[in-house]
Symmetry: C2
Subunit: 465 residues, 2 copies
């Protein structure tokens, strides 16, 4: 069991890291403080030293220093984690990968790209420019590709294009002892050996450090249409979602917001959408008439289920405004209560249970001492509540914990998961065994022990060994 | 390291298995012989005893007998493996899962189903009947769902709907010591812990025995069209494939056959297609006009690249005849040379290299002492050659090995994989390290040791520990 490294080992490691990286290894208080937290409510935890490598070789050298001195390593990307993944809860070396930001290769013919781990999703999409291709996974934050791979991130387009699990073709990973492996290949599919790519995708840096990522790209659709529709009730909005998924309408985005969140969006983004349960849609096709057909079918379904003010956003700038407002939902919710921090929930359930899950949750949340806003990837059965808590109030934190615990138990009882896309970090460790059972978690521990016997890789997260 | 179990241990294990399963545990010569091989050229290898469990609990009991007596276990499905996966190369217990053929649950609202491992893909699709849903993965054989999961199988619809990797939502797996775990959940996505589902998908029974499988279903498309088009040249056919993938035309099937294979199909299926490089297409949509648009776009692309006699198969029976002929391609090829066995290759390359790979391979194959037929999932960059060898001729086997070795090295040099969908088994073990490098294969060995420390789970396959 790794505990905090002793002071002498840390001192020796810091010296070696400074020799290796010069000013790109720093134990200055401000740098350590900046790397002590993500965007969540969890209390900060300082690393002893922060390294900013430029190459896979430098990452490997850092891991060898970690091995020599038995010092923990925490990978750090954009710092937008919501479950405490980047908190250095046992001190040690934080590897900030944001200076590994080179786009190594764009394969226009093969619809793929290889990027260093610190490249962000917006940076990659900008670089794709006129290629006619796009990278689809879009969490709210402008996260790094390494961080997105590590947390198995998803986003608004997952209903059509999948999560990082489906969009990562291969990885370069630095192992605990500094060895470097390449997983996967540039082939679209392979049955050659254990699926190491999928083992490291979602492993949250607990098995190795991702140094570069090869991802699938998708053709920018020839035709796009977006729409907003307010509903009389949450139940009607969800029923529309279920009906359109079952009809096989290939919707590209299908987002649900409740009235609290719509109010927050209007205030933050200076929009004037109705303050009501709302669905945001986007339709993609290689064909303009097909987009129009999809849209008409969905408008009819929505109207049938109490949708009104179905509004088309046909111009590019209107669409961009719509999705920017959606991506800023968490920041908009935070602005409802200045000084608040967001505790963001992340359950995902089979879509047949989504309406029931949301209804029961709304009832359970009545009377909470803080505002709660809902935003969800309804087509995947995944929704987030932002509990806007006063971080100095233990009573609010305790209340948030109680209603989140009940929310997770509700989702698990419905065949769902405690986290659709944010990951376990250390915030959700207590749910892992409730979700998967003790034997499956013991298998996870066996994998962790096999690849990280010293327990130096982001220790204290995911599973304890 | 496991070697053949000693005779006394085997005898004791057989006795216990007969007590457990009665006549469903058999060491009769005919039963053992039937379970000594798949459909490939590899020499048969007899198990000591064959068990036919009905439940997960029975599988767990068999594994406990294996553990007590240190006897290897080989899972067996439809017996259609092409790389020797089911050959009991170290003797032991073959677990034939074909009597575990219950469809446990069909989730019409959630587009998913849970089936025992011995359910076949055709059985599942029949059971889906009038639900409006389909299971998409379709290897040539009517394989079992457990076998397909274990080899990470794919098929003609992978270009649109993915492989088993994308279509398995969760598994029940019996571990080496008889513990039972459930992986994944019924949620469409999850970031909760290591991706155990993807670890067992493609593990070929070397880490545990899959007892049931939860899969994604897809809506049966509202509109379907299929077409056949013969080309002047292989290069023109492949150029058509590359162009349509890059345009983002969401083709559902995109199969390539060479002239030898088309001749075989005509003879075997009593068809009269032109004997020329040929593409088979299928288009799916929720919209009839959209299918017609796709088809017209592709017909124009094909014509531009030397396609002629573009023929539409619009009636359901014509389409079924077309795809049945495609699925029987290997059997058709075998019929070209009575008494032959097929050695089936399986490389997959980035589609930008597909034309080059096929051209170089055709040149390298000239003068082979046996017929060679090509059939491929061109949209994925995956193609198969069937070497129709005389299994009694060592010279032919040696020639096949040489040209297959060169084919694999060519594919690896192009960034591809030695196996797109058939798996490693024991036929491709020598390529694993060439493809992934020694450090990655060492990681695979560490995983194997962690979950199967006695090396009893399908030993002698995938990786040696």
């Amino acid at each position: 069991m790794a505990t905090l490294a002793d002071a002498r080992s840390v001192e020796a490691a810091v010296l070696e890291l400074k020799q290796l990286l010069g000013s790109r290894a720093s134990d200055a208080a401000a740098i350590r403080d900046h790397h002590s937290h993500g965007e969540s409510y969890h209390p900060p935890a300082l690393p002893d030293v922060v390294c900013l490598p430029h190459t896979t070789d430098e990452v490997a050298s850092i891991l060898r220093v970690s091995a020599a001195h038995q010092i923990p390593v925490v990978p750090f990307g954009a710092g937008t984690s919501l479950e405490g993944h980047v908190h250095a809860v046992r001190g040690g070396i934080t590897i900030d990968l944001r200076e590994m930001k080179t786009i190594l290769r764009i394969g226009v013919e093969d619809l793929d790209a290889t990027v260093q781990a610190g490249v962000t999703r917006v940076q990659l999409n900008k670089a794709l420019g006129e290629t006619g291709l796009m990278f689809s996974v879009d969490p709210g934050a402008d996260a790094t590709m390494g961080g997105m791979a590590s947390t198995r991130a998803a986003g608004t387009t997952t209903v059509r294009y999948g999560t990082m699990r489906e969009n990562v073709l291969g990885l370069t990973v630095v192992l605990a002892d500094g060895r470097v492996i390449r997983t996967g290949s540039r082939a679209r599919k392979s049955a050659a050996g254990y699926d190491l790519t999928r083992l490291f995708v979602g492993a949250e840096g607990t098995l190795g450090v991702i140094a570069d990522v090869t991802v699938r790209l998708h053709p920018v659709p020839e035709a796009v249409a977006a729409a907003v529709c307010a509903f009389d009730s949450m139940a009607g909005a969800v029923a529309t979602v279920v009906a359109l998924i079952q009809l096989g309408i290939p919707v590209a985005r299908l987002e649900l917001l409740d009235e609290v969140q719509m109010d927050a969006v209007n205030r933050y983004s200076k929009t004037d959408y109705p303050v009501a349960p709302t669905l945001l849609f986007e339709f993609h096709s290689d064909s303009r008439p097909h987009v129009e057909e999809q849209a008409q079918a969905v408008e009819a379904l929505a109207t049938e289920h109490g949708g009104h003010r179905f509004e088309w956003e046909t111009r590019l700038e209107d669409r961009e405004r719509l999705w920017l407002a959606r991506h800023q939902a968490m920041y908009a919710a935070l602005a409802l209560r200045p000084g608040a921090r967001a505790w963001t929930t992340d359950v995902c359930v089979p879509i047949s249970r989504l309406a029931e899950c949301i209804t029961e949750t709304h009832a359970d949340n009545a009377g909470a001492p803080f505002p709660i806003a809902l935003v969800g990837h309804a087509g995947d059965g995944n929704f987030h509540l932002n509990y806007l808590i006063d971080p100095s109030s233990q009573a609010e934190i305790d209340h948030a914990r109680r209603i989140n615990d009940r929310l997770v138990m509700r989702a698990l009882a419905m065949g769902g998961t405690c986290t659709g896309e944010h990951g376990i970090g250390y915030g959700k460790m207590k749910f892992l065994e409730l979700e998967h059972g003790p034997a499956a978690v013991e298998v996870m521990r066996a994998l962790k022990r096999a690849l990280d016997p010293d327990n130096r890789m982001n220790p204290g997260k995911m599973v304890l060994i």
